[in-house]
């Protein structure tokens, strides 16, 4: 029996965002957009979903006069990501 994969993470863009945040302490919205190649609107929607699930924290600040959106992974998000990778392993091994 295969373990169920977290539906929130089993999506290309959300998984890409989480993978990026796992290896960076925090990242700004434009950087995530650049690295994932997503559109701003789509990325914003997916970030809201991850934030609502408590997987990431979103902080809206200012850099000088420009608004700046910072994203960082939460311990819940890190645990969910680890569980997701563990589940993936079982799919790949069989």
């Amino acid at each position: 029996m295969f373990p169920t994969l977290d539906p929130l993470l089993h999506s290309e863009l959300r998984l890409a965002v989480m993978s990026l945040l796992v290896s960076a302490e925090e990242a700004e919205f434009p950087y995530i957009k650049e690295q994932t190649g997503a559109t701003a609107g789509n990325l914003s929607v997916q970030i809201d979903k991850l934030s609502a699930a408590g997987y990431i924290e979103v902080e809206k600040t200012f850099k000088g006069k420009k608004p700046c959106t910072l994203c960082r992974i939460t311990p819940t998000g890190l645990k969910a990501f680890e569980d997701y990778v563990e589940s993936l392993k079982s799919y790949l091994i069989r």
């Binding site: 994969l5 539906p7 290309e12 998984l15 796992v22 789509n42």
Partner: protein
């Protein structure tokens, strides 16, 4: 990247690997650029200091060029802002932060020590005879090269580059001994038949040559290496 929930396990793994690798490259590039610019600034400053020291020697203001070192943090900050444009939204990681903090700590200690040495010299020099002063004076160069060697060795540990650890430790200690025990003065007095003016030119420019080499090996080379890795 589109919204796709029907991915295979292989595709999921590929996305994870690709994003982690992309991020590693972006962080390496930013760190490499910072080290590269800092190395260039240190090398340029040491050349400038040597030139000013040489030119000011005839006017009797020995070592006045060393005051330029205070401008180094400003120069690094200015050129980093000018040339690392995309840095505004680049993330950092533990390695990048540790390297940056190591050099920031070095800057705090060396500039602080420099200020203490200048203040002490200003207070002690008028109060003492030359013989007394030569005993109690604070010598800046040995401490700076020791601190710089330590920072380079620490960077080598953080970046997992053994050659950098060895260079920092060996060059830092050897240059400390060289500067502290005034090996150059001894060599000039006993081995080279130089005139006092020529000897003082050597003595005021040699610390600049040492710092130039430290800047090249300790900052510029690792910066180039990280930039190359990021391509």
């Amino acid at each position: 990247m589109e919204e796709n929930s029907n991915m295979t396990a292989e595709r999921s793994l590929a996305i994870i690997t690709e994003q982690i690798e992309k991020n590693r490259r972006a962080v390496s590039k930013t760190l490499g650029q910072s080290l590269y610019i800092s190395g260039l600034c240190i090398m340029a400053t040491s050349v400038l200091v040597a030139i000013i020291n040489f030119l000011s020697m005839s006017s009797g203001m020995v070592g006045i060029g060393h005051l330029l070192w205070f401008l180094l943090p400003v120069a690094i900050w200015f050129f980093s802002r000018k040339y690392i444009k995309e840095r505004a939204h680049r993330p950092t990681n533990m390695v990048g932060q540790m390297v940056a903090k190591t050099w920031q700590t070095f800057a705090i200690f060396s500039l602080g020590f420099f200020i203490i040495a200048i203040v002490c010299t200003a207070i002690l020099f008028p109060m003492m005879t030359t013989a007394e002063y030569s005993v109690v004076q604070i010598r800046v160069a040995p401490i700076i090269v020791l601190l710089m060697g330590m920072a380079i060795a620490m960077n080598g540990q953080i970046l997992n580059q053994r050659w950098l650890v060895w260079f920092g430790a060996v060059a830092g200690l050897l240059c400390f001994v060289w500067e502290h025990f005034e090996v150059l003065t001894w060599l000039l007095v006993h081995c080279l038949p130089l005139k006092p003016y020529e000897a003082s030119v050597f003595m005021s420019t040699l610390p600049c040559v040492t710092i130039f080499i430290f800047g090249f090996v300790g900052l510029l080379l690792p910066g180039m290496m990280l930039k190359k890795q990021a391509v």
